[in-house]
Symmetry: C2
Subunit: 119 residues, 2 copies
DNA sequence: TAAACGTATGAGCAGATGTTCATACGTTTA
DNA sequence: TAAACGTATGAACATCTGCTCATACGTTTA
């Protein structure tokens, strides 16, 4: 659909300024995409539970799996996504891989979410 | 899969406490589900753009659609989701429905997300 | 009151997503 | 070095999600 074909209400003289102002202040496409991708990562209860687990202490993969009563494979797939988003980091310790929270943003973002749903 | 069948590493004597502690401090299922559902709402760039639009001022549906260069129907479907999550509210003004941000949590949550991706 | 306008909504479809299964990889142990 | 262990990963599948299209609803206008 061409831009000029986008439907709009007939209040054009009243609202044209609103539309232009909104478009001007909108962040660029890449930033919006990255932001949505970040929140998408928080939008799955398995990943949320993994993050809650790591709030307490760093843990190896199998302990996370056991804590959440899920398979190692499922957890490993989700840890990959969390790591790609830089929400967690990891290091090897012998046969095990230890995962940990990357920074404090995670806690802050989740706390804000909790604030909202508790109203 | 039964709980007792969940696979786990053999470090059971070393890590059993970790697992139990993690399970005890985990929020209950409903809260985790609601939290994930909330972030899922932020996890779409169309909805993020709608929220950014409403940061500036309250707007009617067709102005949002025009600002984002999307159809009225697509916007209306997304507004429904945003309203169900209590992120936006609306009121009727003649033929138009005016949407607005429900509270300041929205801004805070998005700002935290922006902080994270800007590192 | 009939037509026009702004918005909401259900069905359908294509693409995205989360889990399972099988298996490969890297490290340690026997 | 072969086996065992802990973890990672690709394929397949079922489910979910966002958009389009058609149409219904509520309000205002002629």
């Amino acid at each position: 659909m061409a831009i000029s074909d986008v439907e709009h209400c007939d209040e054009i003289h009243r609202h044209a300024g609103v539309v232009l102002k909104t478009q001007r202040q909108m962040p660029d496409e890449d930033e919006l995409y990255d932001l949505a991708e970040l929140f998408k990562v928080f939008g799955d209860s398995t990943r949320i539970r993994i993050l809650f687990a790591l709030f307490e202490q760093e843990m190896c993969v199998c302990d996370i799996a056991e804590s959440l009563e899920m398979t190692q494979s499922a957890i490993s797939h989700q840890l990959r996504i969390l790591k790609q988003s830089k929400l967690v980091g990891n290091r090897r310790e012998g046969k095990q891989i230890i995962y940990f929270l990357a920074d404090d943003h995670v806690r802050t973002i989740i706390d804000q979410g909790l604030n909202h749903i508790e109203e």
